[in-house]
């Protein structure tokens, strides 16, 4: 009995997750505080707070590349400002994804790693559409990131999005955080069906089917 349990644990898929967190004013973001607080404590999940690590934008490229190498699932976790990522994240992309390491000849270090974004935004889901205030769907706005991931031979998944943070109530913040925790826990411990996941617009939508 015990033996089979050990065997089960051994064969259980384990994904090592790297959360690259970019937020220039984290201390004032209720939604993000709740999300970050719920990140499960696990030796397989690394939370990396980049604005705290590189306040001067002087990114340690070698260190970042090592972190990427050491994980299977990479998450860019950031708020959406002006339909884009915070500047340090762009800096990170510019500096860390080097030719010859991340892409190009012999640049295969990221090959087949899974990558996606966790995004918080003030706007509602409804306004992010062709007829809405924001005119574009989130996924369309994220195309440059999608393409970046493609160039690096990574598997880019749909984003996990928390909408409406401007007027979010405390309890909703908590709820979103709670779901995020469960979601990360699931990612850590399960094999992911990429083809199936890619059919959904948001990872939230896919994950809600897994929670029942």
């Amino acid at each position: 009995m015990l033996h089979t349990i050990f065997k089960l644990i051994e064969t259980m898929p384990i994904n090592r997750i790297l959360i690259l967190f970019f937020h220039p004013l984290f201390e004032k973001s209720c939604a993000n505080k709740s999300l970050v607080k719920n990140i499960p404590v696990s030796k397989n999940i690394t939370f990396h707070d980049l604005y705290e690590e590189y306040p001067d934008f002087d990114i340690d490229v070698k260190h970042e590349q090592q972190l990427l190498t050491d994980h299977d699932i990479i998450i860019w976790h950031h708020p959406l400002y002006w339909y884009n990522c915070p500047p340090l994240m762009k800096q990170w992309i510019d500096m860390v994804l080097e030719y010859g390491w991340a892409y190009g000849k012999k640049g295969e270090n990221l090959k087949n790693k899974i990558i996606f974004q966790v995004i918080t935004t003030g706007g509602d889901r409804e306004s992010f559409c062709e007829t809405g205030y924001d005119r574009y769907r989130i996924v369309h706005l994220l195309e440059p990131f999608n393409q970046t991931a493609k160039v690096c031979n990574m598997l880019y998944l749909p984003p996990f999005v928390v909408h409406g943070t401007y007027k979010m109530k405390e309890e909703n913040c908590k709820k979103n955080g709670f779901i995020y925790g469960l979601f990360l826990d699931y990612l850590e411990k399960n094999n992911l069906e990429i083809a199936e996941i890619s059919r959904y617009e948001y990872l939230n939508d896919w994950f809600s089917t897994k929670q029942n």
Partner: protein
């Protein structure tokens, strides 16, 4: 001929033997005094007493001549002080100089004169001569202890300095005045007071004096600086030192010739040179001579105390000494109060000036020759002067340990009642000079409360008014650290100017508050090494960050884009901090090297090599299209 040789060798060994005695005494006793928390002056004085004729007897009556020789240390000290004092600063001091200076001198003379005249059966001439002698304080003790305690630039320091300087200058009229008191002027006196010009009519004397002083002033402005420039070009270090010494010695000599205090003359030339580019070089060159000579002087004072006289009439000497100290203390205290200083300041000021000084020896010997004061009395007075000089460091020690803390506690208790709660601030800043205050201001701008420790009580009271929690005193003392709330604070910022004091604070904190996180200021790499040896993690070198910032601007001026220059600077700082850590560890294997100048050059070589490597690594190729093209073409 052989006999002469033999004799010379004997004299040489004799000289060397003497040197060994003095140096050994200093080497043994000064560290002991320091270890006990007392000033080095006391160490020298004790060393003098012990090697003197009445304890071990290594040195005999020559103590007096040693003292005369070593008095030159005082002259050098005034030169150094002059160097630190720009003419503008000196001008600002004039009110304190004339006000406090004259009040102290005349007040003390008057009280001493009346007291002695009424209570003792001396004739009025003797009494007056003795009063004049004793009213002068010791510039050596006052100034040396001020700089040792880091009080030189505080209000107390400034006023003490002004008073002592006034006295120094007052010596000249006193020496001129004394022969008038004498009923018979013996022939032998001529070598002491008679200057080259004293036979000339008074108006001519005055003219010559004014002329020479202005000569020094303008000579300093143009001639000295020109001379130093020429010497500096030869690149021979000793020659520069020799020139500096030559300058000081010749000015003293000139002053002696016209009968003015050499100390005043060199002070003046120091002031004149204060604005020149050679200021620091001169300071560095003269300081060791000054230190050694002053030490020698204090040893001489200790050795010259005639304990036989003291034992013959202990009651008179001890009582007179005590009363003298009390009178001088009271007068200074009242003057300081009159100038509306704080109680602590009054005490520090008055205690500092409470002894009689080295000029007393000169004046007393002069009086003996003039037959104004009987020989036995004169010797007794000299013993009293020497003992009062010994007493000052002791009294200061007692004051710092027991009196000042009590005053502060009483004051604090009454203030505490008005405080709402005994708040515990998360940050303690030791030293609120330019460095500490910058940190403090940044914290305050962000609503972080900090407790401040400083040894300038005006600063403290001002800070309290501004709503800071501030404590006065020596931050190396455990009681003060406890009172500041080290047990509850999160961070301790060691920002005192003197790296040695910072280090000793850190040692105390480590021992008693192991959980307190320490961030410390370091002047330079050498300080940083020492701090790393003591396992301090957060070291902020003053000379690193601003220098690198300047380097960035230099790169920009030369055509670098600002962002690239800034990135190189960031990398440079990171790398420099890393190498400093590494080198600190390597350094301890080769401690002996450090004494040599070569060592510094060797380290610099290593650093430069390291920089080359690290900046290459820093060249990453983000945004570099050229580089990409090349790489893709491969």
């Amino acid at each position: 001929m052989i006999g002469f040789q033999q004799n010379r060798i004997n004299m040489e060994t004799e000289f060397l033997f003497q040197a060994i005695i003095y140096l050994a005494a200093a080497v043994i006793f000064v560290p002991i005094a320091k270890k006990l928390g007392m000033s080095s002056i006391l160490g020298y004085l004790l060393a003098g007493i012990i090697i003197g004729p009445f304890v071990i007897g290594f040195i005999g009556q020559e103590a007096h001549s040693i003292m005369h020789f070593a008095e030159f240390g005082i002259v050098m000290m005034l030169f150094l002080i002059g160097l630190e004092m720009e003419p503008g600063k000196f001008w600002k001091m004039r009110k304190v100089f004339f006000g406090m200076g004259s009040m102290q001198l005349f007040g003390t003379i008057l009280i001493l004169f009346l007291g002695c005249y009424l209570l003792l059966d001396w004739n009025w001439k003797t009494t007056l001569a003795v009063s004049l002698t004793l009213a002068l304080s010791s510039s050596a003790i006052v100034l040396q202890s001020l700089s040792e305690k880091g009080l030189r630039n505080t209000a107390v320091g400034q006023s003490s300095f002004a008073v002592v300087l006034f006295q120094d200058i007052a010596v000249i009229p006193i020496l001129i005045f004394l022969p008038i008191l004498a009923t018979t002027i013996p022939e032998t006196s001529s070598d002491i007071n008679q200057s080259l010009i004293s036979s000339l009519p008074l108006w001519l004397q005055a003219g010559i004096i004014v002329g020479i002083i202005s000569l020094i002033y303008f000579g300093g402005r143009f001639l000295f600086v020109l001379l130093f420039k020429i010497i500096a070009k030869t690149q021979v270090q000793e020659l520069f030192t020799a020139t500096a010494l030559l300058l000081v010695v010749s000015i003293s000599c000139l002053m002696d010739l016209i009968g003015i205090s050499p100390a005043f003359g060199t002070f003046l030339s120091g002031v004149v040179l204060a604005n020149s580019e050679f200021r620091h070089e001169l300071q560095g060159d003269i300081a060791p001579f000054k230190g050694l000579l002053l030490g020698l002087f204090f040893i001489g004072v200790g050795a010259s105390i005639n304990f036989q006289l003291v034992l013959d009439n202990p009651l008179f000497i001890l009582v007179f000494g005590a009363i003298l100290t009390l009178v001088k203390f009271t007068v200074s205290f009242l003057i300081s109060r009159f100038y509306k200083k704080k109680t602590e300041e009054n005490i520090v000021f008055a205690l500092g000036l409470s002894q009689s000084g080295e000029f007393g020896f000169v004046i007393m010997s002069f009086c003996m020759q003039l037959n104004i004061v009987p020989i036995i009395l004169a010797n007794q007075i000299m013993a009293i002067i020497a003992m009062s000089m010994v007493s000052t460091p002791f009294l200061q020690f007692i004051n710092e340990r027991f009196v000042i803390p009590n005053i502060r506690i009483n004051k604090k208790e009454s203030e505490e009642e008005t405080d709402v709660i005994n708040e515990h601030n998360p940050v303690i800043i030791a030293g609120f000079g330019h460095f500490g205050s910058t940190v403090g201001r940044l914290l305050r701008a962000n609503n972080i409360k900090s407790t401040i420790l400083d040894n300038d009580c005006n600063q403290i009271d001002f800070l309290k008014k501004m709503g800071f929690r501030a404590h006065y005193g020596d931050a190396t003392r455990l009681e003060l650290l406890e009172a500041a709330g080290c047990a509850n604070a999160k961070l301790f910022i060691a920002a005192i100017d003197d790296p040695k004091i910072n280090l000793s604070i850190i040692k105390t904190l480590r021992l008693h508050f192991p959980n307190l996180k320490i961030l410390t200021r370091a002047r330079n790499r050498v300080d940083a090494y020492e701090l790393i040896d003591h396992k301090v993690d957060h070291i902020y070198r003053e000379t690193l960050y601003s220098a690198v910032n300047m380097g960035v601007d230099v790169l920009v001026e030369l055509g670098f884009r600002k962002y690239t220059a800034t990135r190189q600077a960031n990398q440079f700082i990171k790398n420099d901090e890393l190498t400093t850590c590494k080198l600190a560890k390597k350094r301890s294997d080769k401690m002996a090297y450090l004494t040599a100048i070569n060592a510094e050059i060797k380290w610099l070589k290593k650093l430069l090599k390291n920089d080359l490597k690290s900046q290459q690594a820093a060249n990453n190729h983000s945004w570099d299209g050229e580089h990409l093209k090349k790489k893709m073409a491969k």
